[in-house]
């Protein structure tokens, strides 16, 4: 458990933030440029000190902790990757374990394991330099480096901001799976709502130095929200909404039998509505199967809209 609460002096960059991120939670901070989201993130590893209030990590006030050991215990990934250009991939990934004085054999083993996790096998990539990698690969190295000493908390400051949309979406899905598998607490700053929806357990919407909402993606998309959140969602509100709903939301409406003569695709009920609709459209399917355990229920896309609460209300 860690709990952050602070406010900042004369210029009021951040106003009385009071929030808590749960252990193993994926918390995304979203907002426009200059709203204070990066500042908030950097309070956690004390790259910035608060002028008021208190930041706690794992129940301990960070201002009382040794700053270098605090930082060595928290992973940190930034947009520009901050990889050390003069070191190879292997040397970059082993930075924190080396700082912590791990024995050589253990470091070597760990680096190999991490590069495997991020999909850059040691044999092929270990001795390359950052300049010999693509943008996406560099970000993978950045992530491996942040995870090296197995920190319980990892901070991300718009890590995928400079990547192309395809690489970006791909990495987002991977990092989400990784976070679930390794049970890390992740705090992620972005200004991309698609990214936030794909990743977050909860989204904190920041505006002029304060959180105006802290909600699950589903709640954020489907509950009443003010004009600011509305503008943040932009013209993609509809897609974002479908992305936060899973097929499980519709299983009530689905029938047991597959509509006769229809071309169907079966999805797990955890699949989000947007993916299910776009995949079935791509494949030319005209009915969607929703798998719940061993049972499959069927629905035609055209019957689906009336079952989404308040879809055309706004």
């Amino acid at each position: 458990m860690h709990d952050v609460s602070r406010s900042l002096g004369s210029q009021q960059i951040l106003r009385h933030l009071d929030f808590e991120v749960g252990l193993g939670e994926f918390f995304v901070i979203i907002g426009a440029s200059g709203c204070g989201k990066s500042t908030t993130l950097r309070l956690i590893n004390r790259l910035i000190e608060p002028t008021g209030g208190r930041v706690e990590v794992m129940g301990r006030d960070v201002s009382t902790m040794d700053v270098t050991s605090l930082r060595r215990g928290i992973g940190y990934v930034i947009q520009e990757t901050g990889l050390f250009a003069h070191w190879t991939v292997r040397q970059n990934v082993s930075v924190v374990p080396r700082l912590l004085g791990w024995p050589k054999a253990r470091i070597a083993e760990r680096v190999e394991e991490l590069l495997e996790i991020v999909g850059l096998p040691m044999a092929e990539y270990g001795e390359r330099f950052p300049r010999e990698l693509s943008g996406g690969q560099r970000q993978r190295v950045g992530i491996a480096r942040a995870l090296a000493a197995d920190p319980p908390i990892v901070l991300f400051d718009e890590p995928f901001g400079a990547l192309d949309p395809v690489t970006r979406e791909h990495l987002e899905i991977e990092i989400r799976n990784l976070q679930r598998r390794l049970n890390k607490t992740m705090v992620w700053v972005t200004h991309n709502m698609f990214e936030a929806v794909r990743l977050a357990d909860r989204i904190g919407v920041m505006h002029e130095g304060e959180f105006i909402r802290i909600q699950s993606p589903y709640a954020l998309m489907n509950e009443e929200h003010g004009p600011f959140v509305h503008s943040l969602l932009g013209p993609h509100r509809f897609q974002l909404r479908l992305m936060t709903m899973t097929l499980a939301h519709l299983s009530e409406a689905a029938k047991l039998d597959k509509p006769e003569g229809s071309q169907g695709i079966v999805f797990d009920e955890t699949t989000n509505l947007w993916d299910a609709l776009s995949i079935s459209d791509d494949k030319g399917a005209d009915s969607i199967g929703i798998r719940h355990g061993d049972a499959v229920r069927w629905l035609r896309p055209r019957d689906l809209w009336s079952h989404i609460p308040g879809l055309y209300a706004a």
């Binding site: 590893n45 790259l47 700053v67 270098t68 050991s69 605090l70 930082r71 060595r72 215990g73 940190y76 930034i78 947009q79 520009e80 990757t81 901050g82 990889l83 050390f84 250009a85 003069h86 070191w87 190879t88 930075v95 924190v96 700082l99 330099f129 950052p130 300049r131 010999e132 480096r145 942040a146 901070l155």
Partner: protein
């Protein structure tokens, strides 16, 4: 009159020693000064400016100015060479260190490197190509300026050049001028080689060797 080989070798050695001693002192002073200026950037302008002014003083004039202060011989020669060598080294250290990618330093701090560790493991290795370029410039200049040191009785290859001019003897001039030129070119090539060895391949452009 032809000079014997031993004499030429001796003065070449002396010339080399004058150059290396002054440049070494300039590195020992200049690099830390550069590091200091990165931390106190408001001093960078004045310090680099003063070093620039020293550089602008004609070398012969500077040597002359040092005679009343330090007398003649190796001492004023080394001081003058040191002052000349300082500018490229301080300036390049400052520029190299202050141009290290901010994100890299941010990442180093964020991962829990202390300030000294960041400097040693991140900033210095990344600024190394630029610092070494400054050292190279200094060395080549110093070989040139060191020929003038002969006028202060410091010896070196300038001895033959000035003697040859006085005697209007081309052979004597050449026995100073040719080794001095070879020395400058050799040191430059040596430093270029050293640069390729010391600078990480990750910072060098082009395909890997």
């Amino acid at each position: 009159m032809l000079l014997d080989g031993w004499q030429i070798a001796f003065e070449t050695g002396h010339h080399l020693l004058l150059t290396l001693v002054s440049v070494t002192i300039a590195v020992l002073v200049g690099v830390p000064l550069g590091m200091f200026l990165v931390r106190e950037p408001f001093l960078a302008g004045p310090v680099v400016g003063v070093a620039g002014i020293i550089q602008t003083i004609p070398s012969l004039a500077l040597l002359g100015l040092l005679v009343p202060l330090l007398g003649v011989g190796d001492k004023p020669a080394i001081v003058a060479l040191f002052l000349y060598a300082l500018l490229p080294i301080v300036r390049n250290s400052y520029v190299g260190l202050s141009n290290v990618d901010r994100a890299t330093i941010e990442a180093a701090r964020g991962m829990g490197m202390t300030e000294a560790q960041t400097l040693r493991h991140v900033s210095l290795p990344q600024a190394l190509p630029i610092i070494l370029a400054g050292v190279r410039t200094s060395v080549v200049w110093s070989v040139g300026v060191a020929t003038l040191a002969a006028l202060l009785g410091a010896g070196g290859l300038g001895t033959f050049i000035f003697r040859g001019i006085a005697m209007v003897d081309a052979a004597v001039i050449c026995s100073g001028a040719i080794p001095a030129s070879i020395l400058a070119v050799t040191l430059d090539l040596l430093l270029a080689w050293l640069e390729r060895r010391l600078v990480s391949l990750g910072l060098q452009p082009g395909p890997r060797r």
